[in-house]
């Protein structure tokens, strides 16, 4: 579970990138965070993961306040950033193993997890090569593997499906489903309505730093129809990549 209370952030003091956000992401659901480019999704996610500090408000992950006890809170989640061009000089396996070390995953456990993940993401042949030699999608997959290798309770993924091929995208969605069904939390952002529609149990729509809607998908469609002012936003989100 992730709870945000009155969270705000402005980068240069002029306009708020995130404005007084209240949001509760419950257990056992895939929660989509939907909004056009520049809406404030990444900013919100960076605050949840402790990368940037909110100007105001509290954030709790499974009950632990990230500001009060960052180490404990950080052990609860796994985070996939929006750009996968990271640690390019490491080999894929070195990277995943490094992540396992950071989260203290035992040897036996990590071996079997890496094996399973690599198989599911079709990365077995690439693990011994440097990440620099990977394509965009492969980099994305290795970052995701680095997160899943420590079996975090809460998944926080920033636009995780952008750039994945259909098969890997399917695998990731499947895994998100399994994770949510086991009673834990999946929170991911996207700017594509269709993705949210197919995957999410619940969505929140953010635009210009404010939450415009939060609820299930059918509720959302109803909401859009009854609020004509939202039509342009709706159009923006239904446009394909």
């Amino acid at each position: 579970m992730i709870e945000l209370n009155g969270v705000s952030k402005s980068y240069n003091g002029i306009r708020r990138a995130v404005d007084n956000l209240d949001l509760t992401i419950p257990d056992g659901e895939i929660f989509g965070f939907l909004g056009p480019n520049g809406a404030g999704k990444t900013t919100t996610i960076k605050m949840i993961t402790g990368i940037i500090k909110p100007d105001a408000g509290q954030i709790r992950i499974n009950g632990t306040d990230i500001a009060a006890d960052p180490i404990k809170a950080k052990q609860r989640f796994g985070y996939v950033p929006d750009s996968p061009d990271l640690f390019l000089r490491l080999k894929g396996l070195e990277y995943v193993s490094f992540m396992a070390d950071i989260y203290g995953v035992e040897q036996e456990l990590r071996n079997s997890r890496i094996e399973t993940l690599a198989k599911r993401f079709d990365m077995l042949d690439a693990l011994g090569d440097t990440i620099q030699s990977y394509s965009h999608g492969m980099r994305q997959k290795i970052v995701i593997m680095g997160v899943l290798v420590h079996h975090p309770e809460v998944w926080i993924l920033d636009e995780p499906l952008t750039g994945l091929d259909p098969k890997s995208s399917f695998t990731l969605k499947e895994m998100m489903r399994e994770h949510a069904d086991s009673g834990r939390t999946v929170f991911f952002s996207t700017h594509v309505l269709e993705v949210a529609e197919k995957l999410c149990d619940r969505v929140a729509i953010i635009n210009k730093g404010k939450i415009l809607f939060c609820g299930t998908f059918p509720q959302m469609q109803e909401h859009f129809q009854s609020h004509e002012s939202l039509e342009s936003l709706f159009l923006e989100l239904t446009k394909h990549e």
Partner: protein
């Protein structure tokens, strides 16, 4: 031509963002630059003094123009050597090329702009190296307006030919190493061989001109045409000779003729550069960031080795270590200085080795006032640690990955340890290299050697902590190439400056005290030990807060 200007401006703007710039910290940066200029001041003043002395001596026999020849020759050599570094940085490892290639620009325009950017850096270098000389000469010789006019023109044009030559050399090298999947390593080896050649060259010059400080002897050499550097420079860059003649005869028609000839020679250099560039540059730069994989499954022993479990802080340390080793730019700036710089520092000793009297004096000096020798060794280690960028770029090197690191549940102490470890180990390594060279050249007793290491270790630890402190304050995370992260970054300069100041204070302190070997070593060890503990406390206490503040 318009496009070239436009591109040049963009490239310069991009690269001048040194360090992270927070709002309102511009005046701070200015102050720092001013401080650094003040740091250079003694060098410039002594340069001016040197030139003035030389002038007076040579003027008595009417040969003062030799100074100009010497100055221009030296600056041509310096520009050529530095040009190699600038060209590698600007032409190859600033990865704007990959963004520029798809734009509707002629290759010639990209190359031209890159040349101008490198030229711009050369002007800055030249300003320090030869600016004072030209002015002093003008003042001393009561030169007319024409002299200064010529001087300005020459100042702008002189670097072109040496830079064109170094560009061609680098482009050739990069073109023919752009092969295979181990090209990074191939280039690194080439680079090391190159550095070795430069060191050898320096050694050679040093041996020939072992009495550089002796003004009279130098005048002698200049007059008799025996100055190796001058001869070499005018041989490699014949155009420099024309430049000198133009300046000397600036009052006559012949001066104008020489200037004209010099400009023609420069034009030829530019043409040669663009001819070579058209053929070499793009073939060398394309795919510079590619690296091939084998796409073979890792199994069994290899898998176990790569996936081996380690404590978090140690795993982080190993990650740092691997990245330094595998990234040529990091290796050149963080790893090699520890191994090569001790040689550079000790090259002057080569001169001593041939001179029994000096060696004797040195021996007496070491055994007599022993305390100073240990302080000098410590100062050397500190300067070396200041030259090493490993700790002062510890955060910068991560780039955007740093933000992912911020989401790790890693206690700050462990993070700190992992970040300090590689730099400290490398600095300690350079202590031993320095010691080995010192023992080779100088009569050093085992006791002195032991004590030197004993005090130097806390010394370099302090430098590494300080470097990390700087990087924590102002890391540069938004780089596009690793070269940019370590090269176009002002933080290593602070560490260098701090090392110099700390070394000077140490030596001055010990000299004014004048204690003998063992007490001095003990006191230095204690002082640096306590400073280390204090700085460590500051880092542990304030570090997490500072790290939190790094948001972009």
């Amino acid at each position: 031509m318009n496009n070239i200007w436009l591109l040049t401006k963009i490239m310069l703007k991009n690269s001048s963002r040194m360090g992270a710039r927070k709002k309102g910290s511009e005046w701070k940066s200015l102050m720092l630059v001013a401080l650094m200029l003040i740091g250079f001041l003694p060098m410039i003043i002594s340069g001016v003094w040197f030139v003035a002395e030389m002038y007076d001596g040579l003027a008595q026999i009417g040969q003062e123009s030799a100074i100009l020849g010497m100055g221009l020759a030296m600056v041509s050599c310096a520009i050529f050597v530095l040009g190699i570094v600038y060209v590698i940085t600007v032409f190859y490892y600033s990865q704007d090329v990959e963004h520029l290639l798809p734009l509707p620009l002629a290759p010639r325009e990209i190359l031209g702009a890159k040349f101008l950017v490198a030229l711009f850096y050369e002007y800055l270098t030249e300003l320090v190296l030869i600016g004072p000389l030209l002015v002093v000469y003008g003042v001393k010789s009561d030169a007319g307006v024409l002299y200064y006019l010529f001087a300005i023109v020459l100042f702008l044009v002189v670097p072109v030919v040496p830079l064109a030559l170094s560009s061609i050399l680098v482009m050739l090298f990069m073109r023919f190493t752009n092969i295979g999947k181990r090209k990074d390593r191939l280039r690194l080896i080439g680079g090391i061989v190159g550095i070795g050649a430069v060191l050898g060259f320096q050694y050679f010059i040093q041996r020939q001109n072992s009495a550089m400080e002796d003004i009279e002897q130098m005048q002698q050499q200049l007059l008799s045409g025996e100055n190796v550097l001058l001869n070499l420079a005018t041989q490699i860059f014949p155009s420099t000779k024309l430049a000198v003649l133009a300046l000397v005869e600036s009052g006559y028609w012949s001066g104008l003729g020489y200037l004209f000839a010099f400009l023609l020679a420069t034009l030829a250099g530019i043409l040669l550069f663009s001819f070579a560039g058209d053929r070499l540059y793009f073939a060398g730069v394309m795919g510079i960031s590619d690296s091939a994989g084998t796409r073979r499954k890792v199994e069994g022993h290899a898998f176990a080795k790569l996936a081996q479990m380690r404590p978090a802080w140690w795993s982080y340390t190993i990650k740092e270590w691997r990245v330094i080793w595998r990234t040529p730019a990091y290796m050149l700036n963080c790893l090699l200085p520890s191994l090569l710089m001790p040689f550079l520092i000790l090259i002057p000793l080569v001169g001593i080795q041939d001179r029994k009297d000096l060696l004797e004096a040195f021996r007496g000096w070491i055994t007599g006032t022993g305390g100073i020798s240990v302080a000098i060794f410590l100062a050397g280690s500190i300067v070396l640690a200041g030259m090493n960028s490993a700790s002062v770029t510890a955060i910068t090197r991560e780039g955007q990955a740093f933000f992912l690191s911020k989401s790790f549940p890693l206690p700050f102490r462990q993070f700190l340890l992992a970040k300090l470890f590689p730099g400290t180990i490398l600095s300690i390594l350079s202590i031993f290299v320095l010691l080995a060279i010192a023992v080779w050249f100088l009569p050093i007793t085992p006791l002195l050697a032991g004590l030197a290491v004993f005090v130097s270790i806390p010394g370099v630890m302090l430098m590494n902590q300080f470097g990390f402190l700087i990087d924590l304050q102002r890391p540069k995370l938004s780089w596009t190439s690793e070269q940019e992260a370590v090269k176009q970054n002002i933080n290593p300069l602070f560490s260098l400056l701090f090392g110099g100041v700390l070394a000077a204070i140490t030596i001055l302190g010990v000299v004014s005290w004048g204690g003998s070997l063992i007490p001095v070593a003990l006191v230095l060890f204690l002082v640096f030990g306590i400073l280390n503990l204090m700085l460590y406390q500051v880092l542990v206490k304030k570090g997490p807060e500072w790290m939190d503040k790094i948001e972009k």
